[in-house]
Symmetry: C2
Amino acid sequence: MDRDQVLRAAAALLSRKSTATMDEVARAAGIGRATLHRHFAGRDALVRALEDLGIREFEGAFDRARLDEGSAVEALRRLVAESERDAQLLAFLVTENQLFEGDQINEGWARLDARVSALFKRGQEEGDFRIDLSPAWLTEALYGLIGTCAWAVMDGRVAAKDFQYMITELLLGGVRRSVEK
Amino acid sequence: MDRDQVLRAAAALLSRKSTATMDEVARAAGIGRATLHRHFAGRDALVRALEDLGIREFEGAFDRARLDEGSAVEALRRLVAESERDAQLLAFLVTENQLFEGDQINEGWARLDARVSALFKRGQEEGDFRIDLSPAWLTEALYGLIGTCAWAVMDGRVAAKDFQYMITELLLGGVRRSVEK
DNA sequence: ATTGAATGAGACATCGACGTCTCATTTGAG
DNA sequence: CTCAAATGAGACGTCGATGTCTCATTCAAT
């Protein structure tokens, strides 16, 4: 069991039950509690490791999505596709705002936010996206939809294979049916 | 300080910091810890009271929104408008899936889910909504967007007055700009 | 003003999670 | 096979949150 695998298992569990015990986390990862403590000094260290992993993974996901290339619509589709792998991790981190208590926002997240926000801004400037929804809100909404869909998949309310489609279609086109599309 | 006001203050705090202490909850509500315990036997009772309040409030919100009247689009707009007041409460309850552990879904939530889902289904059958996004997913997405926007407002990333607009416009029309709208 | 209920502050014991430790067992490299 | 490192299981003390209690004070109704 790799260190990152342990972290992913922890994210999958903690995203649904944020108050899960260290023992539960260990069981979910298929290792003993002692081994979990050998990898991560304590709960704080575990959460911080999850944070670091999340930032690293999404930094890489954003790179692979090539947010600056092609149309903003295509870039957004690639972004969602690349985010699927770490959706549970994102779901956990988004709900753990308590990490940033004392308004000391993590610099890594600020950088990620800026990249997503820039993508939405580019779409607006190029005329592909509407301008009455702020990039900041769209960024939050994207995170929220990814996390929500990850939960829905975990609960069996959405098929895993529909992950990308459900998010991108709702985000891009909305629910309203328009004859011209 | 009314009982419901205490619950709302608790929801506002717990939606951001789900591990908040009973003492913190009491302080947030402006009452003493002993008084909090007089109202709610313990933490479990508090959470269950939040659940009950949420179900009650949204049952009423759905009634006021008259989901069966007019077009599905208008009904959805009314639904978001009526949900604003309890958005923080929803944000907390949505993330507390741990309440339903042991797949014993709360009956009240199942009823609410059915009503929202029926609204989306009606919109699809009347030709207003697209049919390639399942009502179950749209229901989850609606909850997710309301919760996300509530957080964004709390963090100052979205203006409170834009709450309804940001959610309804994104949900109905998506970010893509279409010339025919 | 008086009285009874409600509140806030604090003390206290209990309990569960945490973190550290030991030891037997397993794993993997040589 | 041998040996060293890693792991799982469990024991143990610590610490913080919890829930209950008391008591002085405040509040509201009469």
